[in-house]
Amino acid sequence: MAKVFIYPINSLILSDLVERFGHKPLSMMNQIREKVTSISLDSPPINITSEDPKMGLKYAAIEVPPGVRGRMSLIGPLIEETEAAIIVENPPTNFGCVGCDRTNELTKYLVRSKDVPILEVKYPESEEEARDFVNKIAEFLESLPKEKSEEDEKAKEEKTAEMEDKK
């Protein structure tokens, strides 16, 4: 199972597709669910406080508007976990949209900067393109490892332990 970053980050269709192929979608919905179910905070509607844009400083400098940094405080940690990514270009709003194009630019840049398999596809305009669109995504998801090899898992565990020791 791979952790697959999806763009648009709140696309229900992409998230569902990733899950159907046995992988874990990295989506905005999970991040917001975590925020709104947090009992220690009360900052409606999605529990983002003035501290969150500060966390976003890890991904964007202080001169970047708070709306971008606030969004990046949710999206950034997902990019860090990313093992594969699907980027859909030119999607309509109802396919998924986080509302801010500066955030979109930064998100795509950070994902592309990672050394992970990425599928970039254009949003379909016709039925034929739609079939092709789904097939490409399916093919990409099938190419990702279903189970992590034991060696990979062991190497990752060792790396995590090493980092813990350093701390």
Partner: protein
Amino acid sequence: MSAEDSGLVKIALVSCGSEYSGVQPEFDEAAAKVNAKFVYPEIDVASIDTIGKDFGLEVASGDLRLMMARAKAVAEGIANVDGVFITTCFRCAEGAIVRNEVRRYIHRHAKIPVISYSFTESTTAGTLLTRLEALTTVVRRRHLLAREVQKGLTAGIDSGSTTTKAVIMKDNKIIGKGWVPTTKVLESAEEAYSQALKEAGVSREEVQALGTTGYGRFLIGDHFKAQLVQEEITVNSKGAVYLADRQRGPATVIDIGGMDNKAISVEDGIPGMFTMGGICAGASGRFFEMISKRLGVDITELGDLAVKGMHKNVSMNSYCIVFGTQSLVNSLAKGASPEDVAAAACHSVVEQIYEQQLQEVDVKEPLILVGGSSLIAGVPKALGELLKINVLVPENSHLIGAVGAALLASGYVEE
């Protein structure tokens, strides 16, 4: 507050995602304090993909397109609201373009008050309170704002950040004035009020109604049991057109206060669009105080000095009060004359008001300049030169808030 006054005001929040910036609770808190509620005009989600072409402004961000779609819903009356609050992130160019155009669009197509603001993650409810108070006042108290003549014996106190002013008015005339630097809010108000009462030759008991405004309005309003406690946008608009005798028709009011400044577009004495500065003290009376101190002159002498000088001889940009002071020190070290420095300071302040605030307000003549800084002769001169229009400074322009409060308070005098 009467029952009519206290009705819930519905304000359409047209924003590009303030919920992601951690400021939404601050917005809601400020609205609750003025008994208002933010509502979100409903739109068809598919229209977000086409609104750019419909509106004529094609931008990439979905939430900015959502703002345009919501503005359209307000203008077409689909959303039943009393006012509109338009807000985007500070420092976002795309957001600033949309914010300004959406504000103009609503102003043109809907006869409801609209304000705009750019927020940071540090924006607090307190910062927004004055703006929302002004917005809700225009909705609720149009009858009060229609008052053009002061009646009875009333008083007004303006508790400003730097000075506290008080006036006593009787039958449409100012009969007593008080003016003291603000130290302790209540004590300064007491002193200014006592000065005004003494000059007027009346006792507190005789005063039929009292209004308070300025930063300390709530505290002193409570202390003096004021009939009217009102923010300075509304009060100063009313005071400015009253003092300048321009109560009917359009006007633009610029108030350069001790800590911030305001630019207000007024129609028949009622504020329409307005902006409040205050992020940097470089464009306020505080900057003039520092300049006077460094030049070794009293602030009352700075204006006459500035009128004799040439601003072009000194390079000064008071975008930041610290950098402005650095420019001042450097130019004096290079041998600049105090007259040129004073003129440059006046030019720098009005230039900053022009660049940061007048861009958001339609400047319509007459332009009425008020606030303590209007008494510095170099300021109206510099503003007139910059805007190429005649600047009106009414008599008692520094008492604007107190006069406006006394005038509006007379609405509470029983006939």
